[in-house]
Amino acid sequence: MNVDRITEKLNILADAAKYDVSCASSGSNRKNKDKGLGNASNGICHSYTEDGRCVSLLKILLTNHCIFDCAYCVSRKNNDIKRAAFTVQEVVDLTINFYRRNYIEGLFLSSGIFKDADYTMERLVRVAKKLRTEHNFNGYIHLKSIPGASEELMREAGLYADRLSVNLEMPTEAGLKLLAPDKNRQDMIDPMQFLKKEIIQNTEEKKLFKNTPMFAPAGQSTQMIVGATRESDQQVLQSANYFYKNFNLKRVYYSGYVPVLADQRLPALNTAVPLVRENRLYQADWLMRFYGFHVNEIVNNQNPLLDLDIDPKLSWAIRNMQVFPIDINRADLQLILRVPGIGLLSAQKIVAARKFAGLGWEQLKKIGVAINRAKYFITCKSNEFERRDLTGQNIKQFIMAQSQSKYIKNTQTQLNLF
């Protein structure tokens, strides 16, 4: 092994891959087979970068050579950077050796497009195939599907990978046209459609035949870059909602644009990465997936932008004061979930614990409710409750004044929700 050369390749190809924010390794259920290596289930963050993101997978490009020229991408054809390419065997060796040392959950392999879509995709598939068939590797594999690759290759990819993803890149077609003139939205939608169909079919077959091989058990995901073009949060979230609903996506990732190029179509190079906005989008996404919110409740024509000062749940609550206050000892779980300051776990605990005795403020606090926020929206077993007739704006001011430090902290956290 030529250590220096491998090290250089790794540096280049990990660096080029890092702008893809997805690093999840959960949602699969691949068991360790025949005393082989590894398994994939819940996904573990083995480390964290200095910017606080989870490191779960060996996330690299097979190559950063690319025939396309997408403006937002460091690997674009006309960018003057060092290029490199791994061999199939090199990626396999790195994955196995990192995995055995418990550094990673598996591999996330993407690539610039060299020659054409099929040529590139074929190589990605070969890495996965080798890991699964020659090394009995059962860890997590996420393959990027190259837009325009043939259906046979996509199908083969699904047989070896846990997750496949096609990045939408831009929230709208217009945004894509502007920044990635070589790309075509339909080329991204087609493989998603194909994968959705295959995944459903595979699930059906599994019900009939136990031995049906797995097909992308962790499903498919996508990523949108936010802040490179001018889409509103409403457009971003509606697009996400559309893909969740119509393509059974497991996750949509939002990647705050990191300036990589001086180009009049893009924000200037010294523009800050929109981290707060990114965080709010994840919170809104969470509300749609786990808290029973409809996308139009979060953003709509009157409120096309998420409030950067407060989280979207609080923001919804103060716009809908007619719903509150609710009685914590009687209200449905669904309604309790909508109270600012009460998260998923606390809500479930409340519903379980109130069977024993009515809950007062003390108990709610013990259960983990953020009383200083929830108190404006609930009553409980106590004579004390908010009697003033406060407007949503008043409440927002009170909460912000009281928990200034907390909000500053929150904005630094990517996925710390409610």
């Binding site: 092994m1 250590v3 491998i6 090290t7 790794l10 540096n11 990990a14 660096d15 891959a17 890092k18 702008y19 068991k31 360790n32 005393k35 082989g36 290596l37 590894g38 398994n39 573990i44 963050c45 083995h46 480390s47 964290y48 970068t49 200095e50 910017d51 606080g52 993101r53 989870c54 490191v55 060996l58 996330k59 790195l94 050796n97 990192f98 055995r100 040392r101 418990n102 550094y103 009995n136 990191v258 300036p259 800050a272 990465v273 981290l275 605990k349 379980a352 614990a353 069977k355 024993f356 005795a357 809950l359 108990q363 013990k366 259960i367 630094q412 956290t413 990517q414």
Partner: protein, 252 residues
């Protein structure tokens, strides 16, 4: 106030519960450790661990709690968190003194405390599953040292055994001086003697040839994935508290 001193085992704890009910001791304080009758003002009752008595209490608990509930109780005790014995005891008493199953009675302080303890223990277990860094030794065994806040090594068996089924490995808790060894068939607990002949430094000499190479590649990878314009040290340290760094290849 009666003070009970027991040997720290789960059976010992259950025996203590037996004594408390049998002799109607209330209020009580439960301490782990050797029984010394000097310098103590209260009446100190040594608990002699008794399997039959412990067994009877366990049987009673099984009637009051679900199987998962008993398991959770066991784990909370096994974690050996200083000063929590009284809360574990409080939970057991609350279970016995109530008509219905109290596992979800979160408004009760003992039930709540136990759920907090479990949360802490689980977090530590997950951290270990994440932060173990194996190093390959000459004989092909993958070795890792850990120093968890609580005693979680026994909770790691299932995860590591089903994941690393085709390599020999050892995870050693150097704080509590015992380890877990997997020999391709089964796991067993072992104690190592780091005496003159067997110092940690010699373990380093026993690293396989390519160990250093992969450690360096991993460090390189870790540095390459960082996005400088997003730097957030506070968040970083919250995810990986500094006390874990000394065993993390990428942070050494």
């Amino acid at each position: 106030m009666h003070t009970l001193v027991y040997d720290g085992t789960f059976e010992g704890l259950l025996t203590a519960v037996f004594e408390i009910y049998e002799r109607k001791l209330y209020p009580v304080k439960l301490l782990k450790g050797e029984w010394r009758n000097s310098a103590l003002f209260e009446e100190v009752i040594p608990v002699v661990t008794d399997e039959t008595r412990a067994g009877r209490v366990l049987k009673g608990l099984r009637k009051k709690l679900s199987a998962a509930g008993v398991q959770r109780l066991y784990i909370s005790h096994m974690a050996e968190i200083a000063g929590e014995d009284c809360n574990v005891l409080g939970f057991i008493r609350h279970a016995f003194d109530s008509e219905q199953n109290i596992e979800e009675d979160y408004a009760n302080r003992y039930v709540m405390r136990l759920s907090e303890i479990l949360k802490m223990v689980r977090r530590e277990k997950h951290r270990m599953e994440a932060f173990v860094r194996f190093q390959k030794l000459n004989d092909g065994t993958f070795y890792a040292a850990i120093e968890p806040d609580f005693n979680v090594l026994p909770l790691l068996i299932k995860h590591f055994k089903s994941r690393y089924a085709d390599q020999k490995w050892m995870i050693y808790d150097i704080k509590r001086n015992y380890g877990l060894y997997y020999d391709l068939h089964d796991t067993q607990f072992i104690e190592m003697n780091f005496d003159e002949l067997n110092r940690p430094a010699d373990v380093i000499a026993a690293y396989s040839e390519d160990e250093g190479i992969y450690q360096n590649l991993w460090k390189n990878y870790f540095n390459s994935v960082n996005i400088v314009s997003r730097k957030n040290t506070k968040l970083h340290v919250r995810h990986i508290p500094k006390r874990y760094w000394r065993h993390l290849t990428e942070k050494i």
